[in-house]
């Protein structure tokens, strides 16, 4: 079956996450992220008291929302969305007003002080365009992350979302986040 359009998304099986932060390091190396800034992070949630306690690691980055509020509020159109769903910043158009950072419900963006522009996860679009997968996905030792095209019925991501229960974060903001957390 021919694939007409693409919609990239990321499935995260956070129960497999061991908080090794290889994804964070791989992203920084791949995208030359400035010192002090990060494009992805691992949220830690601790619960209970010894001996009844649990800890949950939850990787997070830009959700590449279906209806991204950062793109909506950008006054110059520097924040934009590709047809395949990847949300990017056009650095030449960004004036550094940081409205998008305020508007992002996930705090996924950072301000590049040196360049004076806002930056964020690109889903490694330079790699994806060559048929590769994002650096964080490739490097993950415990296979937490599954990257793929939602429109491709043969993709692993399609199978996971069809057969497993999942949640997205803060759907009430109306942004349509595309990071799917398996339950």
């Amino acid at each position: 079956m021919a694939i007409k359009k693409k919609r990239y998304a990321l499935v995260i099986d956070s129960r497999k996450c061991i908080n090794c932060k290889a994804c964070v390091v791989a992203c920084k190396a791949e995208n030359k992220v400035p010192v002090g800034n990060f494009r992805n992070r691992i949220n830690e949630e601790r619960k209970g008291e010894y001996p009844k306690l649990s800890i949950n690691f939850e990787p997070e980055q830009c959700h590449h929302c279906a209806d991204p509020s950062c793109v909506r509020v950008c006054p110059t159109g520097a924040s934009w969305q590709r047809k395949d769903g990847i949300v990017l910043v056009n650095y030449d158009e960004c004036i550094g007003c940081r409205y998008c950072m305020v508007a992002c419900p996930y705090d996924a963006r950072y301000f590049n002080e040196e360049e004076g522009v806002v930056d964020k996860c690109t889903f490694c679009s330079h790699r994806v365009d060559k048929g590769d997968i994002p650096a964080c996905v490739e490097t993950c030792p415990s296979k937490v992350r599954v990257f793929g095209d939602l429109e491709d019925p043969t993709a692993r991501i399609h199978e996971l979302l069809s057969t497993r229960r999942y949640r997205v974060k803060e759907p009430q903001t109306g942004n349509g986040p595309q990071l799917y957390y398996l339950l």
């Binding site: 509020s69 909506r72 509020v73 950008c74 006054p75 110059t76 159109g77 158009e93 960004c94 004036i95 550094g96 007003c97 940081r98 409205y99 950072m101 305020v102 508007a103 992002c104 419900p105 996930y106 705090d107 301000f111 590049n112 002080e113 360049e115 004076g116 522009v117 806002v118 974060k169 803060e170 009430q172 903001t173 109306g174 942004n175």
Partner: protein
Amino acid sequence: MHEFNWGLLIVVYLFLGGLSAGLFFAAGLANYLTVDDKPVYAKVARMGALLAPWPVAIGSGLLILDLGNWYRFYKLFLHFRWQSPMSIGSYLLTIFTLIAFVYLFAWLKEDERKWIFSKVPATWKQVHRLNVDISSWREKIAMVGFPFSIGVGIYTGVLLGAVSARPFWNTNLVAQMFLFSALSSGSAALLLAMLLDRKNPIEKHETKFLVTLDVVFISLELFIILPYIIHGQLSSQAVKDALTLILGGPYTVVFWVFFLFLGLLVPLAIEVYELFPSIFKGHEFHGSRRMALTAAGLVLFGGFLLRYIFVYAGQVSSFHRMGLLR
């Protein structure tokens, strides 16, 4: 752990933008009020016209300096994005500033106008062609400017209110709150300027006019802040959580004591106390200079604090981090 993307420069800019809008509105209104076809508030109108453009001009300068790449600000005007309040706002702000400057020009006395043009080199003939008397256009310019001044006043609130990710802002009352706060700051600033101008001492009817205007705007503002809190408490959990920032959270004291009490209720009480005998008892209005100075100063202080609280508290509020507050 959380850093603020928007800081004090934005607070100052929102305050100054609103101040200009309020000054223009009050000055334009004063221009229209006549008794027996005689403009009774001409001095108020002139003072307001002379002051109105400057705060917004300074504020826009600060706004540009706050950008990551300040020299790219021109890109705002290469695009028009109707979904972005900032895009709409930058056009509104520019048009309003231009109108406010034209209005200032229309209120210059002839010798002032000549003095300004005497500083322009004589060879700049095109500039000297602008040396014309447009004082007869005052009413028309004011009428054109009204919607833009309201627009600027309300836009500063819409800028914040349109952000769905911040429940502290994302209510449909923030825009009006900012508007009425802007209008009341404007009339208070005008009152302050008139009181401080020793060369042309303010007259009683002028004080009364500005105090009355301020009472109206403060009351309107008050009756938006109360529903904001009541409504927020009855709203979804995220908004309720966001309100804990001013109901027990880090901004409680600054909101209730410094903003609501000192910056709103005290000046309102002073102004009502001043107006009461002249309105209800038929006495003549005796504006105390000291009382009026205090009230006007406090209103400006409150107007600034409102922006401060909203810019900072709003950025802390969010859908997924609020749990950490408690």
